[in-house]
Symmetry: C2
C-alpha cells in the first residue's frame, strides 16, 4: 500500500493534499489559527490521513485566503466572516438543489433565496466601503489643502502668505 493518498472519497486526482504546516506557509496563517478556524466552524479540512493528520485541498486554501483577506483587509470578525461564508455555502447548496429540481416554482424560489443572500453580502460590504470612502475623501481634502500651501510657497516665498486669500 503506497498510501500517500488519503482514505476519503474526495478523489480529485491531480489535487495534492497538504499538511497543516504547508498550508500555513502557503497562506501566511499559523497552524494554530487554521486549527482555530476549524474549531469555530469556519472550515473543515478536506480529509484526514490514516493517523488523523489534517489534509487540505486547493479549495481549502482558497477559503483560507478568503478568510485571511476578510480578516486583515476588511477587518471583519471571525463571526462576521462565518456569516459571509455561510451565505456562500448556502448559495452552493441551493445550487445543488436547484440543479436537481425541475419544478419551475421551486427553482425560482431557490434563486430568489440565493439572490437575497448575495444582496445582504453586498449591502454589508458596501456600507463598509462607503464609510471608508468618506474617510478617504476627508484625507484627500486635507492633502489637497497642503498641496495648495506648497504651491503657494513655490510660486513666491512671500514672508506673509496668510495675507493673500484666507489660508485657513
Amino acid at each position: 500500500m503506497p498510501a500517500t493518498t488519503p482514505t476519503t472519497t474526495t478523489s480529485t486526482p491531480g489535487t495534492a493534499l497538504l499538511k497543516i504546516q504547508e498550508v500555513a506557509a502557503e497562506t501566511g496563517l499559523t497552524p494554530r489559527s487554521i486549527r482555530y478556524y476549524q474549531e469555530v466552524g469556519l472550515l473543515e479540512p478536506a480529509a484526514r490521513s490514516e493517523g488523523a493528520y489534517r489534509l487540505y485541498d486547493a479549495s481549502d486554501l482558497e477559503r483560507l485566503r478568503t478568510i485571511k483577506e476578510l480578516r486583515d483587509e476588511a477587518g471583519f470578525s471571525l463571526a462576521q466572516i462565518g456569516q459571509l461564508l455561510e451565505d456562500e455555502a448556502a448559495r452552493e447548496r441551493n445550487r445543488e438543489r436547484f440543479r436537481s429540481s425541475h419544478d419551475p416554482t421551486e427553482r425560482r424560489a431557490l434563486i430568489n433565496d440565493a439572490r437575497d443572500r448575495v444582496e445582504r453580502q453586498i449591502e454589508t460590504l458596501e456600507a463598509k466601503a462607503a464609510r471608508l470612502a468618506e474617510m478617504i475623501d476627508a484625507a484627500k481634502e486635507r492633502r489637497r489643502h497642503l498641496d495648495e500651501h506648497l504651491a503657494e510657497l513655490e510660486g513666491g516665498p512671500d514672508p506673509h502668505p496668510e495675507r493673500r486669500g484666507h489660508v485657513r
Copy 2:
C-alpha cells in the same frame, strides 16, 4: 462659589462641557469605553471639574465619533486608530510651527512632512478600500449571474433551461 465652570484655561465661552455619561449618550459609546480610550492614550478630556469629573468639549465629541467610526465601520484596531490620529495630531502641531515660522525653507519642510503623513493615511485607507471593492465586485458578479437565471425563468418556464446556452 458658583463653580459649574471648570478650573481650566480652555475658556471657549459658548462651549458647554459635558460629563462622561452625556458624552456616552451623544456618541453611542459607553462611559467605560471612553475611559478606556483615555487609558490607552486616544484622547484626554478637555478638562476636569473640581471634583475630578471628566469634562468633554465639542472637539472631544468629534474625536470620539471619529474613533467609533474607525472602529465600527473600518474595523481598525485601537492601535491603528491611535496611529491615524497621531498622524493627525502631528499634522496639527506642524501647522502651529508652520504658522510661527517665517523661514520659507522650514515652512516647506513642515508642509512636506504633513503631506507625507496624510499620504500614508490615504494609502492605508485606499488599500483597505481596494480589497473591499474586489469583494463587492465578486458579489455583484454572483448577483448578476443569479438575475440571469431568474430572467430565464420568467421569460419562459422551460422545464429544461440547461439546454439553452451553457448555463454554467
